[in-house]
Point group: C2
Chain length 312, copies 2
């Protein structure tokens, strides 16, 4: 599957991924610096976007695009429009964090070690900054100049919308009993289904968008989407474990809050050891999906495996 | 400019426009009935979208597309994708109403004679219903199947985003002194500039999208965009006048609230009579932009002129 004349895998995948994450942060900084809009609105958008974060989703866009461009076209450079698509996914992710943190939602004061947007600014500004970041995401896709633009807008919208990320947040709130009667999430199947919408859909579509960028055949897109699904599940299990194991200082956000809120979690359903086994299983699935790409998949393999000892 | 063999103008433009508005309402009803998403989220989206309303923006999309298709291509049927684009613009408009009505924004309990979404449901559901409607708008554009899809996503995003509708709401809140120091809007220039972003941009882009749908030459797009700008200004002046003159029962929302909030309005700056003159002037500009289309412009002319005696 992989071209033997393809790129040499990076000697240090961790450094390689960190370099990509840095380039995304710089691109986003520049994007927001050039944004023509009311000052306070831009400041709130910057606060949320530039507070740090792992840039997991945009890294997936770029790394999948890179891997499949090498594999499908024996080219090593990124396809045109790739930075725009990576930033678009990060804009959607950041908007969802701003809105989820609001007092009427999860009511969080701390995010990535910083005050949340409604704390640093105010609620109205936070709602509008989230709204504007969602719009900006679609403007970025629309103007990326790639022939698959309509398909990429469609897939990103479906992942982010009522049947994806937003719907998942709705189910999560319902499970907390926020709308009168709690719709209990009582088993791993229901938990995985809710999380597949709330966080999985965006992680999966990041991989799909990388495949669209690479003009990869549909079969390849489906393969990397499966990688994204398994990685998304692993990510969520590791997130639940982090909430149990890490201190707030380590995690940069309030921890232990799942238990306090009576939320159903992987450690809650399976115990810490059982959750660690479930994490291993989903990482195994993710790595299996990458097998055809051999050494070109090294950075994505590293990224997946590193979920095992997350501290942030 | 207009093809002499073009369509006969509708005998009753009022009935013609009402029929278009009805068809949009039916399309939106069906769209939401088919939406796969958590029940409460869909119910909140339905509550907002189907509460009525004049469907001004989607009517503009369809009527401009119709007029320019007749004028440019001597065809009378709507171009493919037109209903999707019309619905997309209405989804953006409705999402903005839901978010603007929130307690941390304008704190309104009544909209189109119905409880606002956060009153009928709750704040979290209202935020998510607005978010999902924005996403749905871009999904609709992405899947409309029209060759100008990327351009239409871009233009809609620019009109709705930080330098358009969302930025305008930010400026409006700032002018109320919501962020510490009030940035007073002291003259008609500043008022028109804020309103051009907050409400004008979406009305203008509705006309532009109609031109894109019709594959009209850029010169035509600019002409109908100018019509949209003038109409947007007229609409806002008439809205300010309505707030002074109408009862809440007539308007279907709280009235007299501009004065209560100390907002700068057209009647506030110019007096009721002065504002009525400004309304006439902007309607004159709107009608001038329509002149080349002669009788094919009859429905849009009627729509513009009817802003003079709005009661809703």
């Amino acid at each position: 599957m992989i071209d033997p004349a393809g790129p040499v895998p990076p000697a240090d995948p961790k450094e390689h991924l960190a370099r990509i994450a840095d380039s995304i942060s710089r691109d986003m900084d520049q994007l927001l610096a050039e944004l023509k809009a009311p000052e306070r609105l831009v400041a709130a958008m910057r606060h949320a976007v530039l507070a740090g974060g792992k840039r997991l989703r945009p890294v997936l866009v770029l790394e999948v695009a890179h891997m499949l461009t090498a594999s499908t076209h024996s080219k090593t450079q990124l396809p045109p429009g790739a930075p725009q698509i990576a930033m678009a996914v990060e804009c959607i992710h950041t908007y969802s964090l701003i809105h989820d943190d609001l007092p009427s939602m999860d009511d969080d004061d701390l995010r990535r070690g910083q005050p949340t947007v409604h704390k640093a600014f105010d609620e109205a500004t936070a709602i509008l900054a989230g709204d504007a970041l969602q719009t900006l995401a679609f403007e970025l896709v629309a103007t990326c100049g790639h022939p698959k633009t309509p398909m990429m807008v469609r897939d990103l919208a479906r992942a982010a919308g009522a049947d994806g990320m937003v719907g998942g947040q709705m189910l999560d709130l319902a499970a907390e009993g926020r709308f009168g009667q709690a719709t209990t999430i009582g088993d791993t199947y229901a938990l995985a289904a809710m999380q597949a919408m709330k966080t999985g859909a965006l992680i999966e579509v990041a991989c799909s968008l990388g495949a669209h960028l690479a003009l990869a055949p549909e079969e390849e897109r489906q393969r990397v989407a499966r990688f994204g699904q398994s990685l998304g599940l692993a990510f969520q299990i590791s997130d639940d474990l982090l909430d149990v194991n890490a201190t707030a200082e380590q995690a940069g956000k309030r921890t232990g809050k799942d238990e306090a809120a009576g939320k159903t979690t992987w450690p809650g359903l399976l115990g810490v050891e059982g959750a660690q086994k479930a994490l291993d299983a989903s990482l195994g699935d993710a790595l299996t999906a990458l097998e055809p790409y051999k050494e070109a998949a090294a950075p994505l393999q590293f990224l997946a495996v590193s979920l095992k000892d997350r501290t942030i």
